[in-house]
């Protein structure tokens, strides 16, 4: 028995240590989320900080969101148009792009762009504050750093990501319209009729709900990674990368489960 244990122990010990470490990290993150929610309802309410973050997360992301939305809508219409052309179904391009954008591409791509532009910055900024003792300084001045740094970023992301998704959907459809009408020469009437017919409020709202949930998780992941930074500049770089990778993977994994849930209970 001892020989067997000695044999398998080098294989299972690191695996067990890995699982324990990941479970511990997840536990810390859940506690961190709980604290962020709890501090939301305790005064002082930092509305100025919230608006500053909403400007950073939302207003300053509009340019990059509009640019990527236009070209993703356009390229999607181009690809779909070529395939649908084989079956003389080009008039369905508007509806297909509209459905895809409102249900999936809009919230997911808007979240990915916010991760790239905003969440990386959140992790790097908070991480730098951690390694330069600025977070400790906040604590010594009797200011809770979770309330001061995390709560405004959390709710700014939850409020602004749905609005960015609306922008993404709108500009993406304009991109698809431009390619559909002027490149693929689809008649405008049927293109728009099918778009109005197939895309309804439920599709739009399901995308916005997803966006708000993405905003909640990506902001908390990024802030947590910043908060747990150690080891100077190298640590800040490592944690910023982790924040971007974990947030992106989370968005894509969560998207599947949210879609299953929404399709099962809300969209027939």
């Amino acid at each position: 028995m001892d020989r067997v244990l000695n044999l398998i122990s080098p294989i299972f010990t690191p695996f067990g240590a890995f699982i324990i470490e990941k479970t511990r990290s997840l536990g810390h993150w859940v506690v961190f989320c709980g604290e962020a929610i709890a501090w939301t309802f305790r005064p002082p309410f930092r509305t100025a900080q919230l608006f500053r973050q909403m400007e950073f997360v939302g207003v300053r992301s509009t340019g990059i969101i509009a640019l990527t939305a236009f070209f993703s809508g356009a390229v999607f219409a181009l690809q779909i148009g070529k395939v649908y052309g084989l079956f003389n179904m080009e008039i369905m391009v508007g509806a297909t792009v509209g459905l895809s954008l409102t249900r999936e591409i809009g919230p997911v791509f808007a979240a990915l762009m916010v991760i790239a532009r905003v969440c990386s910055s959140m992790a790097a900024e908070i991480g730098t504050m951690r390694v330069t003792e600025q977070i400790d300084a906040l604590e010594t001045m009797a200011v809770d750093p979770i309330q001061f740094l995390v709560v405004p970023r959390l709710w700014a992301s939850v409020f602004m990501l749905p609005l960015l998704t609306v922008l993404y959907n709108f500009v993406g459809i304009i991109g698809a319209y431009f390619v559909g009408i002027y490149v693929l020469h689809i008649p405008e009437g049927p293109f728009m009729t099918k778009l109005y017919y197939y895309v309804d409020g439920d599709d739009f709202i399901s995308g916005l709900v997803k966006a708000a949930i993405f905003g909640f998780f990506i902001s908390l992941i990024s802030c947590y990674e910043g908060f747990t930074t150690t080891g100077g500049a190298e640590g800040v770089g490592r944690k910023t990368t982790r924040a971007v990778v974990i947030s992106s993977v989370c968005v894509l994994v969560m998207d599947y489960f949210l879609t299953s849930w929404i399709l099962e209970y809300f969209i027939r």
């Binding site: 600025q134 300084a137 604590e139 001045m141 200011v143």
Partner: protein, 250 residues
């Protein structure tokens, strides 16, 4: 008064503090010295509740910090001011905004004119009048520490903690900071705890010197008594500092 009793702390199984016992008298300057990595900063962080001990307690004016909840601890910290080794200024705020931060945060003064006047008064106290609009990146190491000190005293704390206030500064600036510590003490009559490994600076400012080594206080007393200590580690520390000075003299 701050009473530290049987304080133990480890990080990743590595013991840092191994039963620290120390009494810090009210209204005096206590300097805690020791070699790098001996646990001085860890001890200081326990005094303000930034770290929780594995064992033992820190009692500040009769209140055991480990028994306070997060909100109570936050409230309790208002009686502290702390100057960090790196000054820890908020790099997105100007000097003025850094010093005004605790006042605005705790809404102690609602009138911006009064805030401005108090900030200028504290900056003048640390010899930095006219630097209000500078960003932390435009300041030298010594100036940053003086801004950090102005921020630490703006709420008129009862206890002021200094983490390595003269580390990395030239001798002239070190003496200037030491003089500031002494003048703060005389002006505000507060309890000061200074972490340092500079024995000369310690002898200049201290009412009481405690030496920490291998996670324990090995000597504690008034500067004169400390200087005459027969503890071999203290002697080695003093003679190393003395050797450095005499080499510099020659």
């Amino acid at each position: 008064m701050i009473e530290i009793t049987e304080l133990y702390k480890s990080f990743n199984g590595q013991p840092i503090l191994r039963g620290v016992n120390l009494t810090i008298p009210r209204g005096k300057i206590t300097v805690i010295i020791g070699p790098s990595g001996c646990g001085k900063t860890v001890l200081l962080r326990h005094i303000i509740g930034l770290l929780k001990p594995d064992r033992g307690k820190v009692v500040v004016d009769g209140t055991d910090l480990s028994r306070l909840g997060r909100l109570e601890l936050n409230e309790f910290r208002k009686r502290f001011g702390m100057l960090f080794q790196s000054a820890a200024l908020f790099d997105s705020l100007t000097v003025f905004e850094n010093v005004a931060f605790p006042l605005r945060e705790h809404k102690l003064l609602k009138d911006e004119d009064k805030i401005a006047s108090l900030v200028r008064e504290k900056l003048k106290l640390v010899g930095l009048e006219g630097a209000e609009e500078k960003m932390p990146s435009e300041l030298s190491g010594g100036m940053k520490k003086r801004v950090g000190l102005a921020r630490a005293i703006v709420l008129t704390p009862q206890i002021l903690l200094y983490d390595e206030p003269v580390t990395g500064l030239d001798p002239i600036m070190s003496v200037a900071i030491d003089n500031l510590i002494l003048s703060m003490q005389q002006a505000l009559k507060i309890t000061s705890v200074v972490i340092s490994h500079d024995i000369e600076s310690a002898l200049r400012v201290a009412d009481q010197i405690a030496m920490i080594d291998k996670g324990k206080i090995i000597e504690c007393g008034e500067p004169k008594a400390f200087h005459q200590s027969q503890n071999p580690t203290v002697r080695a520390f003093l003679s190393a500092a003395g050797a450095a000075v005499s080499k510099g003299d020659s």
